[in-house]
């Protein structure tokens, strides 16, 4: 297993990150406008000095080489928009917020999604199946920019139970987590139901039942492990997406996370911040996918090819 992980890290993760960094570096430079093109035009002299200050006056290839050398040292460079901040400090401050929001959303998605999926799979084509599945369909169809304001209208403004925006109290976590997690919960519910239906019809379940095991034990011990496989492969990239920030939910609830940073960086042509965020998110994605592969190998003996 260790060999498998190391091989993935060195022969797949590093080259992937290198390609991501390179592509992003040259693509952001192709976009029209630059970090200092504002409505109030600066004089050519000021522009020249700004470029010199940030090394933007050097040939692109030299800048690229310098950037890679800095990244290798763990320095993602300065931010242009936030004149006194470094990309490292901005990501270091925003990522924990996105991570926390993502984990709450994940918890919500897993508890409600997998729970609903199991319930729905037990008695197909009855009320306990149609109810959760209808909600799941609604969850998939309802985008977060509709669900978020609706929840706010009801629980924030009309009932006054929670704050309308911000990221200070424990209550501030509830609505963003539900808004962000709802779509994932819905997918999980449908995937779990399908996975469970598939497993519950197999011979080893019939055997378990025939042995006289209790229905709870059959479902939780025998069926669930296999029934969750489709959900687990969905969860890998989903977790990465959840914890690396989401612009829409962060904007609706005014949460200082990574999603706002990366979208605004793109609009501001904040070259190093875009690059830093993309490389960082790429890294998180790779790690999450690796974890999923490991988890799947542990759960499904048929996948342990190398051993």
């Amino acid at each position: 297993m260790l060999k498998f992980i190391l091989r993935r890290l060195f022969f797949e993760a590093l080259p992937t990150l290198f390609v991501i960094a390179t592509l992003t570096f040259f693509m952001v430079r192709l976009a029209p406008g630059g970090p200092f093109s504002r409505e109030k035009q600066v004089s050519a002299e000021v522009q020249r000095r700004l470029d010199a200050y940030y090394g933007l006056d050097k040939p692109l290839v030299v800048q690229y080489g310098r950037y890679l050398a800095n990244v290798a040292r763990g320095d993602l460079g300065p931010s242009f928009k936030h004149a006194t901040e470094s990309v490292n400090s901005l990501i270091a401050r925003a990522f924990p917020v996105s991570l926390e929001l993502g984990l709450w959303a994940l918890l919500f998605a897993i508890v409600t999604g997998i729970g609903a999926g199991i319930v729905a799979s037990l008695r197909p084509n009855t009320w306990t199946d149609a109810g959760p599945m209808t909600l799941a369909m609604a969850g998939i169809c309802l985008p977060s920019f509709v669900l978020g304001p609706l929840l706010l209208l009801l629980f924030g403004l009309t009932l006054g139970w929670v704050n309308v925006a911000g990221w200070n109290t424990a209550g501030d976590r509830i609505l963003p987590a539900i808004t962000l997690g709802a779509g994932y919960a819905a997918y999980l519910a449908r995937l779990t139901r399908a996975g469970m239906r598939d497993i519950l019809s197999q011979d080893f379940i019939r055997t378990a039942r025939a042995k006289g095991l209790s229905p709870t034990r059959v479902i939780l011990v025998h069926a669930l492990k296999g029934g969750l496989l489709p959900s687990v492969s969905f969860l890998g990239p989903a977790v990465a997406g959840l914890i690396t920030g989401t612009f829409v939910v962060e904007s609706i609830f005014q949460i200082p996370g990574l999603g706002q940073i990366i979208v605004n960086a793109a609009f501001n042509r904040d070259y190093f911040l875009i690059l830093g965020a993309v490389v960082f998110i790429g890294f998180v994605m790779i790690v999450m996918n690796l974890l999923v592969d490991v988890a799947q190998a542990l759960m499904n003996p048929r996948l342990r090819l190398g051993e």
Partner: protein, 546 residues
């Protein structure tokens, strides 16, 4: 299955409908007008500030939201009267002006202190001006100081010694500033952030005089001379300030603190206001305007604002190289309709560039003419009824409001002149790039005053001006602006009149409307007076207790 699905969908729809319905009901049925209940009663003013500031270093920033924060933390030689914007004594308690209006001698107040207790000295101001003008700092707003003698030459590296610049320390608390020419707005502009002082010892503690990325503005490090001091700065979350006990006029300060929230989404900001999390917003989403006008007029504020929206003509290319075509286009736009039906916030149709009553100046020249004249001009230019009119593009930066206005005007030109104009929208940086390269036929633009004077608008269109962006050039116009720069009083105002007359005759731009601020202010906020720059010196602001 089908019935079950249908029933549960129905329940879901009902739930949504109930949640929406209750919101509307609660506002309409109330006896007293709706007023958001403040989340906390801690005498702290909470402001929506539009976006995260670029920095808190007055020499590195270039925007309105930075001005809003910095005017709480730092104080220039003068401050603004909260109602009239007239200069009042600030860090300087008095000043003398030489008879030729080029030498200003400021006397700093004896009890002027930085937030660490150090006295505010003339040397601090000299150091600050030197810092802003240092070529290596590459400050975008350094040009504002070019009115000071030799400042431009120093800023551009042609003079190395700052002693040659017209800023002299004449005593610990006496500062003498010599200008290139009489400048009527020199006292007023002292309340702009680029003239704010920085604490010399603090700057040098964290870096060189011309270093951009130092830590001096971090909470704990920041030393200011304003009515408030920095407590907390969480990027993309909040900036908190509380009263500065060393401030010379601390007795006037009534607030226990201010919090600035960088809320980019206008919808989020409006919800935060309704939920009692904000006392003032920086804007209001256009679709909400009608509701607020009808149901909550006591929360809505709309005041004249020194800014004008206009379209730029590219005069270097056909068909807008012909002034008759430009005039035909300008005459066809029904500005009143745009103000009344689209903007709806009391904006004023603009028939000249400088907003009326900018520091007492209102243009006499204005665009006048009829639709009949417009059609005739277009025919004379070779396009009778729009026939043979080349393809032109109207460029605007992505924004719902700009799009609606552009579509309305596109329709007016099509209906009344028979010409087709296609609309192109680009996101901000791409738009700026295309605009600077004159890659358009027509282009949306707008200008907000940096200071309360016609010069901030009229010097835009001098030959090769950085924000001219039309390709237009007029020696007579340049001369009028140059004259306004070296004269004062009524001669100067006449020079501005000349400039406006040339703009109205040659029309390198199509003026659309003069702005108003449209935002929400909680009734408990006192001392928040309407003024043309939307500046609200916080030491005069207070909160009424419930």
């Amino acid at each position: 299955m089908n019935t079950a699905v249908r029933l549960s969908s129905l329940i879901l729809i009902c739930l949504v409908a109930v949640s929406c319905g209750r919101q509307g009901g609660s506002s309409a049925s109330a006896d007293k007008p709706f007023v958001p209940k403040p989340e906390k009663n801690d005498n702290v003013l909470r402001l929506g500030n539009g976006d995260e500031p670029q920095a808190l270093d007055p020499h590195l920033v270039a925007g309105v939201m930075e001005q809003n924060i910095l005017m709480s933390l730092l104080e220039g030689l003068t401050i603004e009267d909260p109602k009239t914007l007239q200069p009042l004594p600030g860090a300087a308690e008095r000043w003398e002006i030489s008879p030729d209006e080029t030498v200003y001698t400021f006397h700093l107040r004896e009890n002027g202190k930085w937030s660490n207790g150090d006295p505010v000295t003339a040397e601090d101001f000299r150091f600050s001006f030197e810092r802003l003008l240092s070529p290596n700092l590459a400050a975008e707003y350094a040009y504002m100081l070019h009115i000071i003698k030799n400042a431009k030459a120093f800023n551009e590296g042609r003079i190395k010694n700052f002693d040659e610049v017209g800023v002299k320390v004449k005593g610990e608390r006496t500062l003498e500033i010599t200008l290139e020419a009489p400048t009527a707005y020199f006292l007023a502009v002292q309340s702009h952030f680029c003239f704010f002082p920085v604490h010399k010892a603090t700057i040098l503690k964290y870096g060189r005089i011309d270093q951009r990325d130092t830590d001096w503005t971090k909470p704990g490090n920041f030393v200011g001379n304003g009515a408030f001091q920095l407590v907390d700065w969480k990027v993309n979350e909040v900036i908190r300030v509380r009263p500065n006990p060393h401030y010379w006029d601390a007795a006037t300060v009534k607030l226990s603190g201010i919090e600035f929230y960088p809320v980019k989404q206008a919808e989020t900001e409006e919800r935060m206001f309704r939920g009692g999390q904000l006392d003032c917003t920086s804007t209001l989403p256009l679709p909400k305007l009608d509701t607020y006008k009808k149901e909550y007029p006591h929360l809505l504020r709309s005041d004249p604002y020194l800014a004008t929206g206009y379209y730029l003509f590219n005069v270097t290319k056909k068909p807008f190289d012909d002034v008759r075509v430009r005039r035909a286009f300008a005459l066809t736009v029904n500005r009143q309709l745009i103000c009344d039906r689209i903007l709806k916030g009391g904006q004023m149709p603009a028939f000249f560039l400088t907003p009326p009553d900018t520091a007492g100046f209102t243009s006499r020249a204005a665009l006048t003419g009829s639709l009949h004249e417009a059609r005739k001009l277009l025919a004379e230019a070779g396009y009778p009824g729009g026939q043979g009119f080349p393809d032109v593009e109207l460029l605007y930066n992505t924004s719902e409001n700009h799009r609606i206005i552009a579509e309305a005007i596109q329709q007016m030109w099509h209906r009344d002149l028979g010409v087709r104009v296609s609309l192109v929208n680009q996101e901000w940086k791409a738009y700026m790039d295309t605009r600077r390269k004159l890659g358009f036929g027509l282009c949306r633009a707008g200008w907000t005053a940096d200071y309360n004077d016609p010069m901030t608008f009229l010097d835009l269109f001098v030959t090769d001006g950085g924000n001219n962006n039309t390709g237009w050039s007029s020696p007579a116009y340049d001369q009028a602006i140059a004259e306004a720069r070296r004269t004062s009083g009524s001669t100067r105002l006449e020079a501005f009149q000349k400039a406006e007359a040339i703009l109205a005759a040659e029309l390198p731009i199509l003026t659309l409307y003069h702005y108003r601020t449209v935002d929400l202010v909680h009734p408990r906020v006192q001392g928040w007076y309407p003024n043309q720059l939307d500046h609200h010196p916080y030491k005069f602001v207070s909160l009424k207790a419930d």
